[in-house]
Symmetry: C2
Subunit: 408 residues, 2 copies
Amino acid sequence: MDSQGTRNSILLTPGPTEIDPDVLRAMSHVAESHFSQAFCNTFGDVLTMLRKLFQSEDPQAQPFVIGGSGTLGWDFTATNFVEPGESVLCLSTGFFADAFEMCLSTYGAHTKKLTVPFGTAPDLAIVEEELKACRYKALVVTHVDTSTSVLTPLQPLRNMLKRVSPETLLVVDGVASVACEEIEFDAWNIDVLVTGSQKAIGCPPGLSIIMVSGRALEVVRTRHSPPSSWYASLTRWLPIMQKYENKEPSYFATPPTQVVHALHASLTSILSLPLKERFTRHQEKATEVRSALTELGLKTVALQPENQSNGVTAFWLPEGLSSKALLSAVLAKGVTLAAGMHPEHGSKYARFGHMGYSVMSESGLRIDIGVEALRETVVGFYESQRQDIATEGYTEFKNQPQSVTVGA
Amino acid sequence: MDSQGTRNSILLTPGPTEIDPDVLRAMSHVAESHFSQAFCNTFGDVLTMLRKLFQSEDPQAQPFVIGGSGTLGWDFTATNFVEPGESVLCLSTGFFADAFEMCLSTYGAHTKKLTVPFGTAPDLAIVEEELKACRYKALVVTHVDTSTSVLTPLQPLRNMLKRVSPETLLVVDGVASVACEEIEFDAWNIDVLVTGSQKAIGCPPGLSIIMVSGRALEVVRTRHSPPSSWYASLTRWLPIMQKYENKEPSYFATPPTQVVHALHASLTSILSLPLKERFTRHQEKATEVRSALTELGLKTVALQPENQSNGVTAFWLPEGLSSKALLSAVLAKGVTLAAGMHPEHGSKYARFGHMGYSVMSESGLRIDIGVEALRETVVGFYESQRQDIATEGYTEFKNQPQSVTVGA
């Protein structure tokens, strides 16, 4: 069907991810009016199921599902919860955190960005110091930055924030963490959680998904200036989401009906198992991928175990093997991985997505195939290196023990 | 498959519309990376095909395809082409034109709205007077307002604008007109044309489609203040669209890959016939629908023939028949129509969508079925009225000639 040769490749990028055939079938749902009772029922169920995914039972909190990408959630945050000139503290662990900060700044927020060394997570003591030095309207953290796979643990951050600056809103970018990392929206007192449909949720891209606490809704109700965006206005969308959750029609902009059906299918599948089991399976598979990397002598970008994500692993490539060469080689073996995302280091590392359907289906067989393709490629590279050296006359090299043990 | 009873109804609303099975199949395209060559090729073709749909050959003009609804095109217009405080003249022929004006105003534009009597189009003399009285950065017109089905002819407006205020940008909301009404982007000197995927283009909802002239791009390049939106920033999206059109990967936000495939399928189908033929078929089918309404003694909301749209017809209901009752009755016959959209008149009129696949497939059979369902319902209503009157003792009524001739 596809002449490009990637039609049947296994997609192990950190989004879009592999999709359950039931979810793909839902994408072909026949055309229907967004005012029809059938669609209202579907959309209503989606919103109710999202509350479960976020482990939230607070009726004051409200999920939003809006046509667009996960990025739209940044605009939603920037235009609704922060007024121009207000201070926002942004913790940067990579490309996406940097972009979120730029988005906030575009809307007039006065941002302060704390950037950590590549591959590390924020030092809580430094964040605490900053929060004590200045009054911040919001603290923005990227739970897992897709570009580095660095995970910033939320609970210690939340506990500290509650202690030193309880009035500051906690905004979490969960694009690469929702549905593969434990997140308890209520218990962890998260105020705004933004994500997309196409990562661990396992739905095609096309939906911006946002969960907002009652406290954050109140912040919007009492703001001094109106939001400067139309399409990303919480005030415009709130009654629409309330109506749809009540299974009644409402209108602000036409929702992508088919993708909403697909989200319904993926959430139904996700919630058919206890969430704990889902998170454990992701953790186990992530550990397997990292073990394989260690066996290949490759280091992960996120060094500390507590900062390693369960949904994606960024790893350094051997000197001489570019991400482009690696990606081509694994693609030839039917597997799609992702290159690094960094102006300087981008070509020196690659990213292996292990989230959603590829982890949860067939005991994670697709991940195993991906690991094997990676292993063969890296071993092949090591072999070619040895041959190059041999050709150059260093024949004694072959007889020496290698620093890297390559597993079978 | 669907227990709600609307699963197999024929969708004759002014969007979403019926979808070609090939387009629906494309919605189930397997997951793929938005960086893959295969996807770059598809997205590139989509952009090239959009130029053809807009009848544009100007290499300085640029199409944009962004995840979101058609409404996002208003934010795109408001944040990129107009700076806060600049004057914009908005011609209002209904709900959507009013909302576009509110969106512009949200972004800080100084808007002046010319609202015409319900069911009519703007009087060119009044618009000309206004353009002479004040210098406007942009003139915003809703080509067809979906809420009233009033079409505002673009060519006379453009000619007048060119004569009295050539520096004013012409912004056209083509959500309900692109792909069912003749639009020549270059020849008519349109500067910004916004539309959505789910109306006459016949693709599922989920894409904001925008065409921008070279002149309007220059306006963005030379603006004094940066755009206040992140997700709707033309400057951010422009290099992405240029790269994709060149079939190279690029990234700002993840595109809804499956919906882009669906758009590829629908544009391929649209361009397989000369556009003229497509527009003629829409015109013919619209005429048939309006003839049927006349036979039923029903008046269209848009009174003047030159202001009647070829994609949707809003029509007044007989006194005593609400849009809700009509919609329920035709739904029972397997057809979905839309209610009116107006705070005062909403329940007194209904809307019949005749655009896209339902017009172009099977010689418009679905439209014929829709007309028949409407006819039966209205005739049934007239009959029940007569019976009510008879029951009340006005038996002589039945023998008198009726003012309404109901066709078979």
